[in-house]
């Protein structure tokens, strides 16, 4: 008996959809075993996760609150992935975006309500865009690996934010604690009812729609696909890969930066150094699972929202330790990523004939 692994020539749409779902079910079964070992009834636990994350207005709103920064960063990473640019720096770009938005909100002197939010977004996009474009330019000019540059720039961005909130941007009335002053009311995105859901969510959806049109319907999206699929063919067709690399990285960073804007303006209402629990890193997985499609990013982000919120529900209701929640989330990811492999490869068991072959 031998395992034969072959790359699939093509996949049907149904197969593409069913494999991840099947793997999801498998993951839930494995986690259920852990739950039983922890003395928790898995059916009740899953029911509670569902109710907490989707069943109540508040739970649903929390799921969307989690999904929002993932959509922004996921879109950014997805865009770069389309061109085979591995932007691992969405976290840093998020922080630079938060920094840009905060500067406009607190220190720019803008008071106009109409200008405030747009200027915060623009500033966030400029800073986040430049942050990513640094890696793009180094890649285009000197063929420096963008994975390393974007990854390392994450730490620098987080360091800059830390430096500012512990130093110059500290709230003078905040007893020296490391955070900026609260944003003025016109720099805060409106929230709905008694939830934390803010209008940044709609902005993320609109952007996803725009990005979908751009990547699927325009000449620009076409160029991106050609470059991503075969850079040599793109060059052969007269496309300028270098300038596109810098531009796409800029856009990628600008999108991720909007997650930072949405966090400070919609959720935290000030800048501090723990505004993201790693959205920018999760975004890499989001973009990958979304198969680099804008619509996919929205769906996967929503799913991750459920996982985050549901994990907290398990923590609160069943007092499961943090490490268990990590196991739960890790399992889901592991199985989903594994499903990608099965979508792309065919694995068959080959039975050797009974009669030995004389050689």
């Amino acid at each position: 008996m031998k395992l034969l692994i072959q790359k699939r020539q093509s996949q049907s749409a149904l197969f593409n959809l069913m494999t991840p779902l099947l793997c999801l079910v498998l993951a839930l079964i494995v986690v259920a075993l852990f739950l039983v070992m922890a003395g928790v009834n898995p059916f009740a636990a899953y029911r509670d996760v569902g109710i907490e994350a989707l069943g109540s207005a508040y739970g649903l709103s929390e799921t969307l609150v989690q999904a929002t920064p993932l959509i922004f960063t996921g879109l950014g990473v997805m865009l770069a992935f389309r061109m085979q640019l591995w932007n691992i720096g969405a976290e840093g770009q998020l922080y630079m975006g938060a920094l840009g938005a905060t500067w406009v909100a607190l220190f720019s002197g803008i008071t106009s309500t109409w200008l405030m939010i747009p200027m915060m977004m623009i500033m966030a996009m400029i800073l986040g865009g430049i942050w990513a474009a640094i890696a793009g330019a180094l890649k285009a000019r000197y063929r420096v690996n963008e994975v390393i540059i974007t990854l390392l720039l994450n730490y620098i961005a987080a360091g800059i934010v830390k430096y500012l909130v512990y130093g110059g941007w500290r709230d003078p009335k905040g007893y020296g604690f490391p955070q900026t002053a609260d944003f003025p009311p016109n720099a805060i995105l409106s929230t709905y009812f008694d939830t934390r859901l803010h209008s940044g969510f709609w902005i993320s959806l609109v952007l996803a729609a725009i990005l979908w049109v751009f990547t699927e319907k325009t000449v620009w999206g076409y160029e991106l696909r050609v470059i991503g699929n075969n850079p040599r063919a793109a060059q052969y067709a007269g496309m300028n890969i270098q300038s596109k690399t810098i531009f796409v990285m800029f856009l990628s960073g600008a999108l991720a930066a909007l997650a930072g804007f949405a966090q400070v303006s919609g959720v935290v209402t000030r800048l501090q150094d723990n505004i993201s629990p790693g959205y920018g890193f999760t975004a890499v997985i989001v973009a990958w699972l979304a198969r680099r499609s804008a619509a996919g990013v929205v769906i996967v982000s929503f799913f991750f929202g459920i996982v985050y919120v549901g994990g907290d529900a398990l923590k609160i209701t069943y007092k499961l330790p943090e490490s268990f929640i990590n196991v739960f989330q890790g399992m889901l990811l592991f199985f989903l990523l594994a499903s990608e492999y099965f979508v792309n490869h065919r694995i068959t068991l080959v039975r050797e004939p009974k009669t030995p072959v004389a050689v």
Binding site: Y58, Y166, G167, G174, Y175, G176, P277, D312, I316
Partner: protein, 356 residues
Amino acid sequence: MKKILAAVAAFIALPMAIHAEVEVKAAFIYVGPVGDAGWTFAHDQGRKEMAKLPFVKDATYIESVPEGADAARVIRGVAQKGYNLIITTSFGYMDPTVEVAKSFPKVAFLHCAGYKTKPNVGTYFGKIEQPRFLSGMIAGKVTKSNVLGYVAAFPIPEVIRGINAFALGAQSVNPKAVVKVVWTNTWFDPGVERSAAESLLSVDCDVLAMHQDSPATLQAAEKAGKFAMGYNCDMPTFGPKGYLCAPVWNWGVYYADAAKKVHEGTWKAGADWWGIETGIVDLGPMTAAVPDDVKALVTAKRKEMIAGTFHHFTGPIKNQEGKVVVPEGKVLPDEEELKMDYFVEGVKGTIAKMKE
């Protein structure tokens, strides 16, 4: 006459009090795991003490809740489960606590180490700088190089106060003592704490103090054959030879009090900042490594503190530039102490400056 009045008053008050009495269901939100042997462990000891009270029906906890906006979801989750006393034990929970409290006006919220209060959100903290001062005295006496090391988490007033008190304590017995500070920018990261401690040991420091949630500093000092101070709770096992003592928290004192008030219906949101006289903070047991004469000196000073005859920030105090910040004969007001953002003379280290 007075007695009668009191009895009447008590008689009138009694039925009301009985009527207002409620069973306490408390929930604690922790930033780290309960097994961190530091900050969260100390709070959890306090929780256990509170749980022993007869009217405390439930005292649960949720550990390792990341600081920041998303903590709101966890805090709201426990509030929805019917807990009537919710205690959030890290500075980063301040905004989420205030935000969730808005939706649960009948629940008492207590937030540790912050500064925002609301009708149902109180803050609480203890003057850990008092035992810090005492530990500084020990360090000042024990050191041979006159260079003390301090592994510090974040440049915020809470930590800065501790460093200054430690330095002043040391200088009070050894004018030549200086304190070198290394920032780790983390509350809990044994690896980072350890290398910070090692870097201090490599520049002549022979007594280390720390403001961290893990005992890594003690282990590094023990390995190098130097002395070290703990923090949060007594930590003798982490340094059989070099461990001196630790400024410790006894949160149970405060939590029992808060639970009692909630039980009686007398709880009011306030900004509580308790001192060594209440027992919320203290100096843990001094080990055999502390000479007896030093022990006597420190014990005497502790008594003065409890009696209220000695203040740990008593002038003259100069800042690093040599400018007098507390004149001779004055003590630093609480308000000033709460936002302390400078080091005193003799501390070698820097704090990022605020934009004017």
